[in-house]
Symmetry: C2
Subunit: 379 residues, 2 copies
């Protein structure tokens, strides 16, 4: 055992916690790559199912391998009736992220490999969880609106099936493509907080469902996945109040409020995901006649860029993109989970393939040892 | 933003991830103290409720403060009927830790302060979760055995009420005292993996229920809380097979198996908690006429100590202690959670009082960037 102690910067900033073969980031050049393949190439040419294969297996699939994975993902589009009951029984005020976290935790009761923590079992769980999380998000949205749960269609892609189950209608090819690209862009991002929570959980040799449940809990926070929802609340507020977007943001800054959707721990240049989402927000806005969300976003971006020297991150333009796709604001973060489960599970598999308990130390700054217990009457 | 990169040892061993005023550990001297007060003094003089107050508030309570906390804890001994339904609807093969994780996640639906993340709301949630987790563990054990859920008794201590709800009988004062001390000893342990998972989750500004749900998932693993269950499975196996305990362990070591309940990332000497649990295991064994579990444990301890130079940790003698108290082996880890929720919640409160996102980096060792996307036919 080592007795060397190293004091890390707050929040473990700049601390390399593990090696990983999954995600390459160059924060200075604005590069993000999965297994070495640039996110721009994947956004332009790949699809979410292929990206899942890449993340889980470390290489692009052959036609046969991709076909097989698509069949597996489609055949896992089923939820135990008890999970549907759990969604129905959740009180209507329950937050979608709280419901998703609870339902994913409950999936462990019904997983045929719950007690098996080997590599292949965890790949199987990754496939199941990817299909099931999309279904849970869509089904809960239907249930809370008093609508029928829509049956999945095994002939559809992951993105199209999700939109079908959410809206009850076959999506347009534009909507399918937009969501598919958004799912690719959000699939992984190295040791972001939710993925790190998943790895810390898995590293006790716990299990995939525990790890993904932890990740969903971490993703919920406004400093992480919750930011895309926070961005849209601002766009909405600007729109409702009729204020000038720049004045609105100046008001926030005057109150020392952080503007969500800007800045990133890792990127010192533009977040490469923002490049795609900005264009998608504009294209979808123009196609749907709802360009105002893009326009408000763009004004805010220009101002924050100039005034605070902060770049838009992945959350900023995903807000207007999802809204233009007709998705409710409190589903933005659950949809992040629909994508990121692919990365979480890839990281858990990698962690367990060469595991060590993740257990740092704290620097004790409390009352000096030894203090003493005294009888209550003497306190 | 800092661009300095530090490579940490695997598992963040020896990395100081945060300052903390909660738990003092001296791994060389075998010291564990909560808020500066040695665990030995607390085990000898305190009780679990007082220890909770100490962990949450940083000081021992006056008589009035302790009385008030006891009333609060007792008045939070209630579960929404939907939580009881969730426990009833879990399939009988569901693992108690999976059920506990799911039920705690579902508690968020009914928490009156779910959307409030301020200091006082989180202290209130700590109190509620401490009462509710004990009830969930006891109620699920009754339900899975086809027994009636036992109503809580607000006049009893936390330990006695738990035993009442578990067994349906008023516990003996010996049993109450033994469990109370076990709860004190397990209440906190600095940045152990489950507490770290809770802090990583909370640091996205997520919420207390998300953080405690993450912690339960991490605690489940056999490299963490799951070890006490693994220890008892060995004691049981030795007893059933009639083998000599030393031969049994030699056989495990010959198969390169790790013996659970020995060694600790932080202590290089005896785990101070083991000192108490060893004595408790012996005393309870003698009092109940079930001394064999202590005797088998002691033989294993002596051998592993001599042969592997490893000391027993908190998990080793908690196995025989809990068994002698009549607790089922698959409840050992849930009972760890019944105690550790006090520490998890104290750490979440501390994290949120001075928060920074916990987001380390990974060292990319995958296919060199840039790889390229190729059409499937060319792979």
């Amino acid at each position: 055992m080592s007795s060397t102690i190293t004091h890390a910067p707050k929040g473990l900033e700049g601390i390399v916690a593990t090696t990983s073969s999954i995600c390459y980031i160059d924060g200075e050049q604005g590069v993000l790559a999965y297994r070495g393949i640039d996110i721009h190439e994947l956004a332009d040419h790949s699809n979410f199912e292929e990206t899942c294969y890449l993340l889980w297996n470390g290489k692009l699939p052959t036609n046969d391998e991709l076909g097989k994975l698509k069949v597996q993902l489609a055949s896992e589009r089923k939820l135990d009736p008890a999970i549907i009951s759990l969604l129905r029984n959740a009180p209507r005020q329950a937050l979608p992220m709280d419901v998703l976290r609870t339902a994913v935790s409950a999936l462990s009761f019904y997983d045929p490999e719950e007690k098996n923590n080997d590599h292949q079992a965890n790949v199987n769980k990754a496939i199941r969880l990817t299909s099931q999380i999309a279904m849970i998000v869509a089904a809960y949205d239907r249930i809370r609106k008093g609508l029928e749960v829509v049956a999945p269609d095994p002939k559809l892609s992951h993105a199209a099936n999700f939109l079908l189950m959410l809206t009850g209608k076959q999506p347009s090819s534009t909507a399918e493509k937009a969501l598919d690209i958004a799912l690719i862009l959000h699939a992984d991002h190295e040791l972001n907080a939710s993925t790190f929570a998943a790895r810390v959980t898995a590293a006790t040799l716990s299990d995939m469902h525990s790890a993904v449940t932890s990740a969903i809990g971490a993703l919920k926070g406004p400093l992480h996945g919750g930011a895309n929802e926070a961005v849209f609340r601002i766009l909405e507020s600007v729109d409702k109040s009729g204020s000038d977007p720049v004045d609105y943001i100046k008001g926030m800054l005057a109150q020392k409020k952080k503007v969500p959707g800007f800045g990133h721990r890792v990127y010192h240049t533009e977040d490469p995901r923002a490049t795609h989402l900005r264009k998608m927000s504009q294209d979808l806005g123009q196609a749907s006649g709802q360009i105002k969300w893009f326009q408000i976003s763009q004004k805010i971006e220009k101002f924050v860029n100039a005034d605070k020297k902060l770049n838009a991150n992945v959350d900023f333009y995903s807000a207007s993109t999802y809204h233009t796709l007709g998705i409710d604001v409190d589903l933005f973060t659950p949809i992040f989970a629909v994508s990121r489960v692919s990365g979480w599970t890839a990281h858990v598999i990698e962690q367990l393939d060469d595991n060590r308990l993740i257990r740092p130390r704290a620097d004790y700054v409390g009352p000096a040892y030894p203090q003493h217990w005294t009888p209550p009457s003497q306190r």
